[in-house]
Amino acid sequence: MTHTLRSPRSAASRLRSPQDLAAGLLLSALALGGLWLARGWEAGSLAMMQAGFFPRLVCYLLLAAGLATLVRGLTAEGPATLAWAWRPSVAITVAVIAFAALLDRLGLVLAILALIGIGGLAGRPLRPGPFTALWATLATSCIAIFSWGLGLPLQIWP
């Protein structure tokens, strides 16, 4: 998929600007999702706005902006690449989720190990020596700042 999008554009039949197209789809989807979630909320009138009024107003405007972007994606020339950096995005996200999952169970020191261990895969992983040094430095400074300094009730060890 990305390969065809990246190749030089020649035929007019191809999408003109996949980037705008995708943005338009995302924005419209957000707007429609918002409208669907807000379907049961009372809107009231202009003079007596209820909880549903502002969400609907914003969603309709967002839908308009989304559709405008969509149309431009179909008609106007624009950037073609939609390359997605899987490695950094997945590694960083998984690392943060792992930190969240481990913090209350195994404590700060091990949660940081998981965070920088998995997160490190996003770039060029460090060799074991420097990695351990980084882990030790980060764990100590976090404990010093947040636990001793700010008095946060943090679980440090398992």
Partner: protein, 500 residues
């Protein structure tokens, strides 16, 4: 005038209290320390450091945040000059000539020029804030809901004018921000909105995970993608002090930049970026030899640096006196104030004069401190610039996670941040700017409340926005700004400006 001096005196009294001096110093130091790290702009820096101010008393916290902000701004110009990496759009202009100077071995002179121009601009603008703040706040007391709605529209449209790329997408980002701001329990009806039955969302989305995800995590992913984890090579720094000739060349530019910045920064949606761009254009116009620009003209550093500092600081005026943030950093400041239970707006000046004037006076103190701190430490900052990203980004990651967690001691916020990190990366891929989103998020509740109140008072009559004089004036400004964006000539210039 005497009033202003008396007030500033009161403020100085607050800001030179030993603890507040310490907060100011720490803020400026940590702000520079983080701001100098490549790939972290002022917005990300302030977002990252927000949590450490939560445990301070309100005055101290705001003083520290302001210090962090100047430090981050200054750190941003250091990276712009030495490695041609602008942390934020406001230092893009500094890159052009600053980095050219650095490549000629005059990086130290460029850094000193930036520091001294910023100091000058900062001091002058502080006086402007002290003078312009109270009358504006007085005017704001006469504001009804319709005026507030009009004012916020001006601010939001102003933000659109300055976003990169497509105007439609920038508007959409504001709307997404407004949508996110509605998450939680509606104050008037008790209706749960967009909470998905998750108890942690009943009180609304928190600002910190949103800002840290969009600016911290997403930036890490983008930097890793762009540099593939490689480090960058800063230019060496030799001589620091500008020669007499440099000084003569630079000071008129700094004065012009300050004037421009102070003027443009007050406009809602204005601020640092617009000021820096205009100042660079102006310097190029008035220069005897415009061809030196882009090849290391010292005016090209002094002008924009003075302007972006003046503009950044002047944007405190609408934030403090009207409660309307004009850019993403000010939105962060408003968020921080709210967390401390302070609602920014015309009331703080009268109700909490020590806080208001203390913060303004601390701007003076902070600016002086920054220069005193930075000129001797430039060598250290340069070494910091050499830290490989492989060490840097795990550290930022840890700080993001634990900072977000410390807000409520709840890992839910950390998960939320992970989600917004991915969302921020998607937005970046689609060339949608996250800054307008943050502004919309902060202004959302205020906008909804004032809109519904204005409509209630006028019994649903929309003409109220154009029949009341102040609101009509603001609406005219909003329409004017919109027309400006749509004008082809301005559009072209805007594209050129962002491309450079």
């Amino acid at each position: 005038m005497m009033d202003v001096l008396a007030n500033l005196w009161l403020g100085l009294g607050v800001s030179v209290e030993p603890m507040n001096l310490v907060y100011c110093f720490l803020g400026a130091l940590i702000g520079t320390l983080i701001g100098v790290l490549p790939g972290l702009g002022p917005t990300a820096t302030v977002a990252l450091l927000l949590p450490i101010t939560f445990y301070l008393p309100p005055v101290g916290a705001l003083i520290m945040l302001a210090g962090i902000f100047y430090g981050a701004q200054y750190g941003g110009s250091t990276t712009a000059i030495l490695v041609k990496l602008p942390g934020e759009s406001s230092s893009v202009m500094t890159c052009l000539d600053g980095n050219a100077m650095a490549r000629q071995g005059r990086g130290g002179v460029a850094l000193a020029t930036a520091a001294l121009s910023s100091l000058f601009a900062g001091c002058v603008t502080t006086l402007v804030i002290a003078l312009a703040g109270p009358p504006l706040a007085g005017m704001a007391l006469a504001f009804g809901p319709s005026e507030y709605v009009a004012l916020m529209l001006v601010g939001l449209i102003g933000a659109v004018t300055l976003a990169h790329g497509s105007v439609v997408k920038a508007v959409a980002m504001i709307l997404v921000g407004l949508l996110l701001s509605m998450v939680g329990t509606d104050v008037n009806s008790g209706q749960m909105r967009f909470t998905f039955d998750i108890p942690q969302l009943y009180d609304g989305l928190d600002f910190v995970p949103l800002a840290m995800g969009l600016f911290g995590l997403a930036d890490i992913i983008i930097n890793l993608e762009e540099t593939e984890g490689r480090g960058i090579d800063p230019s060496p720094v030799h001589r620091l002090w500008p020669s007499l000739r440099d000084f003569k060349d630079a000071w008129p530019a700094a004065v012009r930049g300050t004037a421009l910045g102070a003027l443009l920064g007050i406009l809602p949606g204005g601020g640092a970026t617009l000021s820096a761009f205009s100042s660079y254009a102006l310097e190029k116009k008035v220069a005897r030899d415009p061809s030196t620009f882009g090849k290391g003209a010292i005016q090209g550093v002094a002008g924009p640096e003075a302007a972006n500092n003046a503009g950044a600081q002047a944007s405190f005026i609408p934030m403090l006196s009207l409660g309307i943030p004009s850019n993403a950093v000010m939105a962060l400041m408003v968020g921080a104030m709210m967390i401390h239970g302070i609602t920014p707006g015309p009331q703080i000046m009268t109700k909490q004069p020590d806080l208001f004037w203390g913060m303004i006076a601390s701007m003076l103190v902070g600016n002086v401190m920054l220069v005193v701190l930075n000129l001797p430490l430039i060598g250290l900052w340069v070494r910091l610039l050499r830290v490989p990203y492989a060490y840097l980004f795990p550290a930022i990651l840890v700080f993001c996670c634990i900072g977000t967690y410390s807000l409520k001691n709840d890992v839910f916020d950390v998960l939320l941040m992970a989600g917004f990190g991915v969302f921020g990366y998607v937005l970046k891929k689609l060339e949608c700017e996250p800054a307008p989103l943050l502004l919309g998020f902060v202004l959302g509740p205020l906008l909804e409340e004032n809109l519904s109140r204005a409509m209630l008072l006028s019994q649903g009559d929309l003409t109220v926005f154009v029949t009341r004089p102040i609101s009509a004036g603001l609406m005219a400004v909003a329409v004017g700004l919109l027309a400006l964006i749509l004008l082809p000539a301005f559009r072209r210039q805007r594209e050129v400006a962002f491309k450079e």
